[in-house]
Amino acid sequence: MTDWIEACGAEDIDEEDVIRFDHAGRTFAIYRSPGNEYFATDGLCTHEKVHLAGGLVMDDIIECPKHNGRFNYKTGAARGAPVCVDLRTYPVKVEDGKVFLQVG
């Protein structure tokens, strides 16, 4: 069983926004939805390896800052060209005002 990793404070992420989290040589994107839920995916776009933390969160979509490729950050599903490969998602929980990530 993989441990939960403390990633950031819950208030470190604005509503409908994303931040970058690096851990053990890997990089992740952690999202706060308009409904105040938290999600996490791999940090790099599956198209050209650009970090998604520079992108735009709109509803349940993260848009890559380089080519505007779109993913559903809740499911990781690619939502059309130029992205074709889904993002990997990770379980997230919030406890005592902190966001924890379970990395596999």
């Binding site: 604005d14 926004d17 198209h47 050209e48 390896k49 520079g54 992108g55 735009l56 709109m58 848009e63 800052p65 380089k66 080519h67 505007n68 779109r70 060209a81 130029p82 074709c84």
Partner: protein
């Protein structure tokens, strides 16, 4: 201010054993290989110029988020004006067909069809014009048909253009290759060469075939849609031609297809300024892209793509946010050309110079407030050769 630049360090590093004008005398043999499957394509990958990290002006996240925000209202307004004017001018052209009065209507119709479609294709392809995605998709499909760019091919081609802007062997959208073919460039204004190429590509794609370059950037799973669109378009053009024959009149073609020829001049006029005469094989958009101040009508037709350095540096910012972005980062950019005239006054002599010495380019001077050009990054690319 612009500095003429014969960049031997870049030239020597980027071109390896390429010739220059002094070796060959007169017009140089082309040292650049623009093929996407050729020598420079391989070299760009080997030297780290492909899919590289690019320079960005620092902008606080909060401001960037505001600039990136999508809205439907500006693009709905502009699209209603665009399509409304298109229908009105087209109706006027048909009404006055057979008299000289139809000419001004066709002049307007042609620019709206053959030039405004370029910027609509572009902005909706980025998905930034509207907040609502189906609106981006709908206008994208219409504009692609008008500008004769297969929506699948060009979505992928343009993604590559943003990954590897003006990287020789990687970027398929380099309009003026070196040394410049000025006859071909001139013919672009009347849409001759590119329309011929677009028709040739459409027929090939309708037959279910891609060329070797297309295979390098269009994924397998996208190809059936590409072929389907090419077949639909071929059917539309065939029906238009049949209608013209049946009517014994060129009028149907004056409304569908030919406006891409007689109305192309404006998008070529503005489009050449995007990168013309500037550096290639660099990793800083301030070196290879140009921002130009232009008149409000051209800005409407061009959807603010005159802010081209800003667009390349931050492609997530919608067209209606580019003037604000320009104000925010202009301290870090070369001064914008004050007019199209000023842009052409520096660009045309550069093209002429490149006829004899193709490594010549314009290096635009940065203001004292700007961070310097990333010679370190370009130097790394050079050292790798």
């Amino acid at each position: 201010m612009t500095e003429a630049f014969e960049d031997r360090s870049l030239r020597d590093s980027a071109a390896g054993s390429r010739n220059d004008a002094s070796d060959t005398g007169g017009r140089a043999a082309s040292a650049r290989d623009y093929s996407l499957v050729g020598r420079d394509a391989r070299r760009a990958v080997e030297t780290g110029l492909a899919s590289a990290e690019w320079y960005h002006t620092d902008i606080p996240r909060k401001q960037m988020k505001e600039l990136m925000q999508r809205r439907d209202a500006p693009a709905i307004r502009d699209t209603a004006i665009w399509l409304g004017a298109l229908v009105t001018s087209g109706a006027g052209a048909v009404y006055f067909w057979g008299t000289w009065w139809c000419v001004p209507f066709f002049l307007v119709y042609g620019v709206l069809y053959g030039s405004a479609s370029d910027s609509r294709w572009h902005e909706c392809g980025h998905g930034t014009a509207f907040r609502t995605q189906w609106m981006n998709d709908a206008v994208y499909q219409i504009a692609c048909f008008m500008i004769m760019r297969n929506p699948v091919t060009w979505r992928w081609s343009h993604a590559r253009h943003h990954t590897d802007t003006i990287i020789v062997g990687r970027d398929r959208e380099i309009t003026v290759m070196r040394p410049p073919d000025l006859l071909r460039v001139s013919l672009l204004f009347v849409g001759v060469t590119d329309v011929w190429e677009a028709m040739r590509d459409m027929v090939r794609n309708a037959a279910g075939r891609l060329n070797e370059e297309e295979k390098t950037f269009i994924p397998e799973q996208e190809r059936p849609q590409l072929f389907r669109v090419a077949r639909i378009w071929a059917a539309i053009y065939a029906a238009t031609i049949l209608l013209a024959v049946a009517m014994g009149s060129i009028l149907p073609l004056m409304l569908i297809g030919l406006p891409r020829i007689y109305g192309a001049w404006h998008f070529v006029l503005t489009g050449l300024l995007q990168h013309g005469g500037l550096a290639d094989n660099v990793l800083d958009h301030r070196l290879n892209s140009r921002t130009v101040h232009i008149n409000p009508i051209s800005r409407f037709i061009y959807w603010n793509m005159n802010y081209h350095v800003e667009h390349h540096m931050f492609p997530m910012v919608p067209y209606h946010g580019l003037p604000k972005l320009h104000e925010l980062i202009k301290h870090d950019l070369p001064a914008a050309s004050p007019s199209m005239w000023a842009g052409y006054r520096e660009m045309i002599p550069a093209f002429l110079r490149q006829l004899r010495y193709e490594d010549y380019f314009l290096k635009r001077e940065l203001p004292p407030t700007a961070r310097p050009y990333r010679e370190d990054l370009h130097g790394q690319a050079a050292a790798a050769r």
